[in-house]
Amino acid sequence: MVDKSIIGREYPEFTFEVEKGKIKEFARAIGDKNPLYYDEKAAKEAGFEGLVLPPSFPTVFAMAGGLMEVMLGDLKLDLSKILHGGQQYEYFKPIKPGDTVTGKVRIANAFEKAGKAGTMDFIVMETTYTNQNGERVLVDTSTMIQRR
């Protein structure tokens, strides 16, 4: 049974510095040739301050910031039984190369749900990111599903 007492649990903050090389590497991996991800000049001409981040790039913050460690360690999840059920981003301010974002993870919900494959445990993690100026830039809501 899913442990409801984890709801509201918070984890120590982590930081991530956004680098140009990582943006290009990510854009290549997803097969996107959009010049705004590779060419600073094109990005500036299009009205951006620097290279642009693809919409799902913030997964890089989460992975680097230890979301996996949180799940595997503290929540004792089994890699062979977990699935990424859903992912949401809410964008408040642009994030650009050179920014350092600080993420704070909180367990927003934990519940079980019966489905075709039997009852599964759902854990919803919410990560709020602020930039180096203390501005809230992004909220990441990630739902993990554990098969029993």
Partner: protein, 144 residues
């Protein structure tokens, strides 16, 4: 890549976003995505692990599917519009899968001075199976 600017006046409730079709996914891409994203779950890169879990081999990252949907959105609306973007993962992807992303404008409204649209999204593989469903909210510039 982004086409010409889409304005609030250009979209209507019930209207469709241009269909986006991915290149066939490859196992090399899963390795590239693991490195780029930092998600080294062996399900995506180690064949024997994928077999043990029952997938018969490696599967693509769910977040790679989301990235493909994101490509459809940014190709259509550019890189300044998105306010919210969410997906639910329905079916795993495998190498050689071709993902088609479709979207419908569910709602068009003005809120807090922004001209917004809500978009319902679905991505399917070449067998017509739903890979992800999702939704997005975008703020668009107005012609006036």
């Amino acid at each position: 890549m982004a086409g010409k600017q889409v304005f609030f006046e250009d979209v209507n409730e019930g209207g469709s976003m241009p269909e986006f079709v991915s290149e066939p996914l490859t196992e090399t891409q899963f390795v590239m995505y693991a490195g780029a994203s930092g998600d080294f779950n062996p399900l995506h890169t180690v064949h024997s692990f994928g077999e043990m879990v029952g997938y018969g081999g490696v599967i693509g990252h769910g977040m790679l599917s989301m990235a493909v949907v994101g490509r459809g959105l940014t190709d259509w609306l550019g890189n300044k519009a998105l306010k919210k973007f969410g997906v639910s993962f329905r079916t795993v992807t495998k190498a050689k899968d071709v993902i088609t992303v479709k979207g419908v404008v569910a709602k068009k409204y003005t809120e807090g001075g922004n001209n917004c649209i809500d978009i319902n999204l679905v991505a399917e593989n070449q067998r017509g199976e739903t890979v992800v469903t999702g939704n997005a909210t975008a703020a668009l510039p107005s012609k006036s």
